[in-house]
């Protein structure tokens, strides 16, 4: 797995598709899920309280008119009890069954998927949320938390039974490394070694640094580059005055070395190798 230079974090779960493509999902931990849950509780019980206020007002208003007080009150309280039921048993299953995430989960940037990385369907969403009743025993999700800590996918009991997990929704990819500016000069190209090979960790670190370069003040970029430029330029026997530019040139050559149609910076007079 060439591009995953760094060993994956232990909160990553690899899922292989039938096409033999491996996706890495970051599973969401208890803290982020608790945040999402708190938001959902605020939404659910906010609605219940709002309806309760309306019912109370209607009952008080009805009392002035006399007559059908108990009818409207009965209807209102009946409705409230149904809403309470829905908040406890339907809200989570419905959102997750239809969209894969409750509003709280969407806000926290997490989503429920099966352990094969596929979207959850209504039966799985129903099962994992029915078992919420077991997970929150004896108090405050103690059982669920214990189950999550004993699972490498942070699965509570409901997740285990329904074969689901909660993952962090991948963000849009980060920016690319900007091309070197000004373009490599002939003397720089001539001085560069033909064969620049970084090991994957070095390459990933350089890439991260060069992507951030535009956002860094020049002095800070220099300071950071100077930390690593010494050993690297000694290894390749190449350095220009500016340490940032040294790293950028070497990275550019490592990326393009040996490829057809490579940019000029990657070639040196004669064909490489």
């Amino acid at each position: 797995m060439g591009t995953h230079a760094l060993p994956p974090l232990d909160t990553d779960v690899a899922v292989e598709t039938p096409e033999h493509i491996v996706f890495r999902h970051r599973v969401a931990g208890p803290a982020r899920r608790a945040l999402a849950h708190a938001l959902d509780l605020v939404i659910c019980y906010g609605v219940v309280i709002a309806v309760a206020l309306v019912v109370a007002l209607a009952v008080v208003g009805g009392a002035g008119l006399g007559g059908a007080i108990s009818d409207s009150a009965g209807l209102g309280i009946g409705l409230l009890l149904v809403l309470l039921f829905a908040a406890q048993w339907i809200y989570f299953a419905a959102w997750e069954g239809l969209l894969g995430a409750t509003p709280g989960k969407m806000a926290a940037g997490i989503r429920v998927v099966t352990t094969d990385g596929r979207p959850v369907g209504p039966p799985q969403a129903a099962l994992r949320n029915l078992l919420r009743a077991a997970d929150l025993m004896p108090v405050g999700y103690v059982v669920g938390l214990a189950s999550m800590l004993l699972s490498h996918r942070f699965q509570r009991l409901g997740d285990r039974a329904a074969a689901t997990m909660v993952i962090i929704v991948p963000r849009a990819p980060r920016g690319f490394v900007a091309p070197i500016w000004p373009p490599p000069q002939p003397d720089e190209i001539a001085a560069m070694p033909a064969d620049v090979l970084f090991d994957p960790e070095e390459r990933a670190a350089l890439e991260l640094f060069l992507r951030r370069r535009a956002a860094l003040p020049a002095s800070r970029a220099n300071e950071l580059a100077r930390l690593v430029v010494g050993p690297i330029s000694r290894r390749f026997a190449f350095a220009v005055a500016d340490p940032v530019r040294t790293l950028a040139l070497l990275y550019d050559r490592a990326q393009h070395a040996g490829r057809d149609e490579a940019p000029r910076s990657a070639k040196r007079g004669a064909r490489w190798r």
Binding site: M1, G2, T3, T17, E19, H20, I21, F23, R24, S70, D71, S72, A73, G74, L75, G78, L79, L80, L81, V82, L84, F85, Q88, W89, G117, R118, P119, G121, P123, A126, L127, L130, L131, R132, A133, A134, M137, L157, R160, A161, A162, P170, A172, P173, R174, G175, F176, V177, P200, A204, E207, R211, Q255, H256, G258, R259, D260, E261, A262, P263
Partner: protein
């Protein structure tokens, strides 16, 4: 080091970018309007487009192209993967299927359902007999004041009927309370079935004791007429939910040749159908209990209706979905 490709990243991106854009567009549209409503031509392009993107991703990883490009391709492939593998069938077909799947699942689990019935009805009979012979037994399971109020209410009968508002209130209460109890009875079955057994026993005992107390106070006929209309739905559903919970618990205790986790997953996928069916039965029960059982209709009508409902529920659970199950290859 051998490089797997001689194509530069730039050349690779510029040759494939068009296809990626198209795939991103297609899978976004499929996610928005649903796979079924995609134009046939688009649908035909989606799957090859996804496979090409997978190949591109594998290539980009092998050729060690830069991380942002690989991330972009991963995101693209993941998005298309979610869309393609989420295909769902039409709603009407699902409802029809569920209607037959519920009794079939119940019959597959008839051992557990029978055990649940025993765990529920044996304490119920015990509570009933105990408080018939000594009404103060009922005070051990429910507060005395509540029981006195209850038996007075049943002694009055239903001639006045319930007002519309009261019916709605009670229906809401039954939804929240009874369906909640049944679902909890199922969910706690994951602890080796112990939770389900506890809820079945506890509910059986208190229903029996309260029933016995009300009968001992001379309101037996009235409470019988009240219960018979919705009883087959309500008591049946609690037993079914408990049976589903017992199955789930047993699948962990005795997984057979599977791992415990797989056994749990297979069984709970199967029994969740039973729980959904039981919840639907309890919703029917709540509506009946709120608006029918407490109404001022004559007792004879309620008795006949109750008997018919009992026959209907039993016939449905025993017979529905059989022909197709046997005819299936």
């Amino acid at each position: 080091m051998a490089l797997t490709s001689r194509l530069t990243e730039g050349a690779f991106v510029s040759s494939r970018q068009g296809a990626w854009g198209e795939l991103a567009h297609l899978s976004q549209r499929a996610a928005d309007v649903g796979l079924r409503r995609l134009a046939p031509a688009d649908l035909a392009r989606l799957s090859p487009g996804y496979r090409d993107a997978c190949a591109d991703l594998a290539h980009a990883r092998a050729a060690r192209y830069s991380a942002p490009l690989v991330e972009q391709l991963e995101l693209l492939a993941a998005q298309a993967h979610s869309t393609l593998y989420a295909a769902r069938r039409g709603q009407a077909a699902r409802v029809r299927e569920a209607f037959a799947a519920f009794p079939r699942a119940v019959r597959r689990r008839k051992g557990a359902v029978a055990l649940a019935a025993l765990l529920f009805f044996a304490p119920l009979a015990f509570g009933l007999l105990a408080s018939l012979s000594d009404p103060t037994f009922a005070f051990k399971v429910a507060p005395e004041a509540m029981l006195r109020q209850l038996s007075e209410a049943y002694a009055r009968g239903f001639d006045e009927g319930r007002r519309g508002g009261e019916g709605a209130l009670m229906a809401g209460f039954y939804v929240n309370n009874n369906v909640g109890i049944a679902l909890r009875c199922f969910a706690t079955g994951i602890f080796g079935g112990l939770g389900s057994a506890f809820y079945l026993f506890q509910n059986g005992l208190s229903i029996g004791a309260i029933l016995g107390y009300v009968i001992s106070q001379g309101a037996g006929a009235n409470i019988g007429v009240f219960i018979i209309g919705h009883g087959s739905f309500e008591l049946g559903a609690i037993v079914l939910a408990g049976g589903a919970g017992l199955s789930m618990g047993w699948s962990i205790v005795s997984p057979g040749e599977k791992t415990r986790l797989h056994s749990l997953q297979d069984t709970s996928k199967d029994v969740v159908v039973i729980v959904a069916g039981a919840a639907a039965m309890l919703l029917v029960a709540a509506l009946l209990e709120g608006f029918w059982s407490g109404s001022s209709l004559p007792a004879e009508v309620k008795l006949v209706f109750g008997g018919a409902m009992f026959a209907l529920v039993s016939a449905y659970l025993v017979l529905a979905g059989r022909a197709r199950a046997e005819g299936a290859p």
